[in-house]
């Protein structure tokens, strides 16, 4: 058995590649024409997207009656999907901002990709509130502006907070991502051979010339943005949880929601990042940049957040019992043993039980197993949102209005379409921009920083 020297940080990048090699490796997908496999993948995601578009077409033509939503269950799939996708986005900001503030160098290899995922996930999520209202062309009224009706939106409403939170989150994530890209775009500009590429890279690299007088401000801005993105990411899912928690429905009206939602969001986001990275590192030969150690660290975060989510599930039951409020108690018993018990137990097993396997080091470092567990985590997290949204609504205070929610094919088509939308963006991203930050990776290669030996 080898002993590990914990006083030394593990190298982030394995195999001591030269800076030149890193440049070539990361820029390679942008230089080569996409191969057949890429087109097959793109065809699959576009087909999924098309199915979603058909579902949306039917919805907008015939109305939201195409969905399974019924009288007590007015929030169906669109809201479930919205919360799910916003959650997926959270891992990106956690990796790029929070881990940056904590000086976790292993984040450098995965941050760019995770940030890209954040943007695409938030874009996907942003579609759903619009879809949910049924007449998306009226969405402009969500934005407060002085208008001829002298009407204002209700700033005390969590749904309006949501508009602010999600749009801010998207904008700030986008800026953060773009700022991170500037040095890389300059590097690409300097090695571009075709004129068109060179012009595009020149425009977007804003005249960057790797000057230390720029790096100095650049690093400060990056730090400021990370400092803003950190509370922002916590606020976003907090506010999403307010959509539920501020109402008085049993099972929703609960102060544990904000931390519980944030933990769940990071949990599902990490699972998604881990899933996609497993493909990326294999396809683009990034195994020594996105190392097994990095994946293992991500799995550790998955156990941590998974356990937090499990704790929240337990706490909800405890609070229901301890509060002595009958409808609250009924709601939770109904969740676990009522008509939606199947969904509840899918959620518990995928979110609480399977991730616990990551306590075993072998499993934490086995790529096929961790892949399957992370897929299950995302299934579980989707069901969590389903359970929260649907079970509480379907059986509220008034038993005479109870009804069972059954999704329709159109609901399913839109859900599938959202995956198509998300993965189409991911695929386009991998072929048009460096999915690993060239500058950040170079800065953590062994020997990249001065050793200060003269002191």
């Amino acid at each position: 058995m080898t002993t590990i020297d914990y006083s030394q940080e593990l190298p982030v990048v394995e195999g001591r590649p030269t800076l030149q090699e890193i440049n070539e490796l990361i820029a390679k997908p942008l230089d080569t024409k996409p191969d057949k496999k890429y087109y097959i993948a793109l065809a699959i995601t576009l087909t999924m997207l098309l199915i979603g578009v058909i579902g949306l077409g039917l919805t907008f033509y015939y109305g939201v009656g195409m969905w399974g939503n019924n009288n007590p269950v007015g929030w169906g799939f669109p809201i479930v999907n919205f919360v799910f996708w916003v959650g997926i986005g959270h891992a990106g900001t956690l990796i790029s901002a929070i881990l940056f503030l904590f000086r976790q160098k292993w984040r450098n290899g995965i941050a760019r990709f995770a940030e890209g995922m954040t943007i695409f996930a938030v874009m996907t999520a942003g579609l759903f509130p619009l879809i949910h209202v049924g007449r998306p062309w009226l969405a402009g009224y969500l934005i407060p502006y002085p208008n001829q009706h002298s009407l204002w939106v209700d700033f005390n409403s969590p749904l309006v907070w949501d508009v602010f939170a999600v749009s801010t989150y998207f904008t700030v994530s986008f800026i953060f991502w773009y700022v991170g890209l500037i040095p890389d775009l300059a590097t690409l500009r300097d090695r571009a051979t075709s004129k068109i590429k060179k012009t595009i890279y020149s425009i977007f690299s804003l005249g960057w010339r790797h000057s230390n007088r720029h790096w100095q401000h650049y690093e400060m801005v990056y730090l400021v943005l990370a400092g803003f993105a950190t509370p922002l990411v916590l606020s976003v899912h907090t506010i999403v949880s307010f959509d539920f928690a501020v109402s008085i429905l049993p099972g929703w009206h609960s102060t544990i929601f904000p931390p519980y939602f944030v933990a769940g969001a990071v949990f599902s986001g990490f699972a998604m990042v881990q899933n996609v990275l497993i493909f990326i590192r294999k396809i683009f030969n990034y195994e020594h940049i996105i190392t097994l150690d990095t994946l293992e660290k991500m799995n550790k975060i998955i156990i941590l957040t998974g356990s937090m989510v499990g704790y929240a599930y337990a706490m909800e039951f405890f609070t229901a019992w301890y509060s002595g409020v009958q409808p609250e108690q009924f709601t939770f018993i109904n969740r676990a043993f009522g008509p939606y018990a199947w969904a509840y137990w899918i959620m518990v097993s995928c979110n609480v039980l399977f991730p616990q396997l990551f306590w075993i080091k072998k499993i934490r470092r086995s790529i096929p197993i961790m892949f399957v567990i992370a897929v299950l985590v995302n299934v579980g997290m989707w069901f969590e949102r389903f359970v929260i949204t649907v079970t509480s609504l379907s059986r509220d205070f008034l038993p005479s209005s109870w009804a069972y929610f059954k999704p329709t094919l159109v609901d399913g088509a839109i859900l599938l379409g959202s995956f198509g939308f998300f993965f189409t963006w991911i695929l386009l991203f991998t072929k048009s921009l460096p999915v690993v930050s060239i500058a950040e990776i170079k800065s953590v290669v062994p020997g990249a920083q001065p050793s200060h030996e003269e002191h």
């Binding site: 062309w137 790797h210 400060m220 943005l225 606020s235 307010f242 500058a439 001065p450």
Partner: protein, 379 residues
């Protein structure tokens, strides 16, 4: 033909240690117009060059605070003066409810302002070209070399001295950089007609598109805003049936859906004789009966119809439905009680459909059978 002007002398180094040393040395020699170019930020370089800390965080601070304060003031004005909304008697000025929006606006403005400040003040946006671009020097420092460049503008600049300084520091290559005044110049481009007209065009396109979308596109069919609807509008003539009236008088004897009159008003005995349960005692019907019984009947009659009321004496406790009397009643007789009520028990005709009432009867039968099982049931 444009003339070549010397911009700077540059030197490339192979290791981060060398470049730190070089930067320190150049600073010591008293040069001010020099720069270090590295593929990634080198720790300790800011100290070696003795750069003053960046002022950009102050932009974030000032803009963030301004945004936060303005937002609170705006929300106060909007909610108490311009558009007060009474929500359940809560105070108009509700600080806790303003926190989310204020926070988001603060973060948004501060982040955008910091980045925009960096673009304009540090990167000198929209100036994009620079003498160092497109040189071999730039192509090396953007990959794996560490470069230093001393500008010809520097008061101490003397080509030979600079070269020998670089040599003494162990530079791997030393090159002069030239530029032509036509292609590259340092005048701020922000006031150039080209950039200004770009901004004007951008402004016109964005505002025009917004105007057209909000005021024209959104009113084209099919966006009828529900103003056009195929329905009868009160006090308006309708051509649908002819005769101008939007509604027809029903034919004599018409019965509204779900309102078939009950033939056995106050005639329990007749109901008992004539009414026949249309439902079969199959699982589906009994399940339906169970759900509805538990919702509507069990509060008074108890879950097992044994008369165990949950109303704690606030309503007369009903008799058990397992009595010989009720067991010997026909289905129609029980149906009659549900439909009409009996003494203090109210009618359930409006809450329960006919089918549901019959299903409840089936369930009561099942309950009765469970307390008075026959020998044959045990097999």
């Amino acid at each position: 033909m444009s003339e070549k002007i010397l911009y700077s002398y540059t030197a490339l180094f192979d290791t981060p240690n060398q470049i730190i040393k070089a930067a320190k040395k150049v600073k010591e020699e008293g040069y001010t117009k020099y720069d270090v170019n590295t593929p990634y930020p080198i720790h300790g370089m800011d100290a070696a060059m003795e750069l003053k800390p960046s002022l950009l965080p102050y932009v974030a601070l000032v803009v963030g605070l301004t945004a936060a304060i303005s937002m609170i003031i705006f929300l106060w004005w909007q909610n108490t003066i311009d558009y007060p909304l009474n929500i359940g008697g809560k105070p108009f000025f509700a600080l806790p409810a303003y926190i989310p929006v204020t926070f988001e606006v603060t973060v948004l403005s501060a982040s955008i302002a910091t980045v925009v400040a960096m673009l304009f003040f540090v990167f000198k946006f929209p100036n994009n070209v620079h003498p160092l671009h497109d040189t071999d020097y730039m192509k090396r420092v953007s990959v794996d070399k560490y470069g230093i460049s001393i500008q010809a503008e520097d008061p101490l600049f003397e080509a030979e001295k600079v070269k020998s300084l670089f040599n003494s520091l162990g530079a791997s290559s030393i090159t002069p950089i030239y530029y032509s005044d036509e292609l590259v110049n340092f005048k701020p481009k922000i006031l150039e007609p080209k950039f200004i007209s770009f901004l004007i065009i951008l402004f016109i396109v964005v505002s025009g598109a917004t105007y057209i979308t909000l005021n024209k596109l959104l009113f084209l069919p099919p966006y009828s805003w529900m103003m056009v609807q195929d329905k009868v509008i009160a006090q308006k003539t309708s051509d649908f049936f002819g005769g101008g009236s939007g509604m027809l008088t029903p034919v004599k004897g018409t019965v509204a859906r779900g309102f078939l009159p009950y033939k056995f008003d106050k005639k329990p005995e007749l109901a008992a004789k004539e009414l026949v349960n249309p439902l079969m005692p199959v699982k589906k019907n009994i399940e339906l009966g169970k759900t509805k019984f538990n919702i509507y009947c069990s509060p008074c009659h108890g879950y097992h119809a044994e008369g165990k009321s949950r109303l704690r004496g606030q309503f007369p406790i009903p008799p058990s439905l397992h009595s010989d009397k009720v067991r010997n009643w026909s289905d129609g007789r029980i149906y009659h009680v549900i439909t009409e009520g009996q003494n203090v028990m109210p009618s359930y005709a409006h809450q329960l459909s006919r089918q549901e009432r019959w299903a409840i009867v089936l369930y009561i039968r099942a309950l009765q059978r469970s307390l008075n099982a026959k020998e044959s049931d045990l097999q």
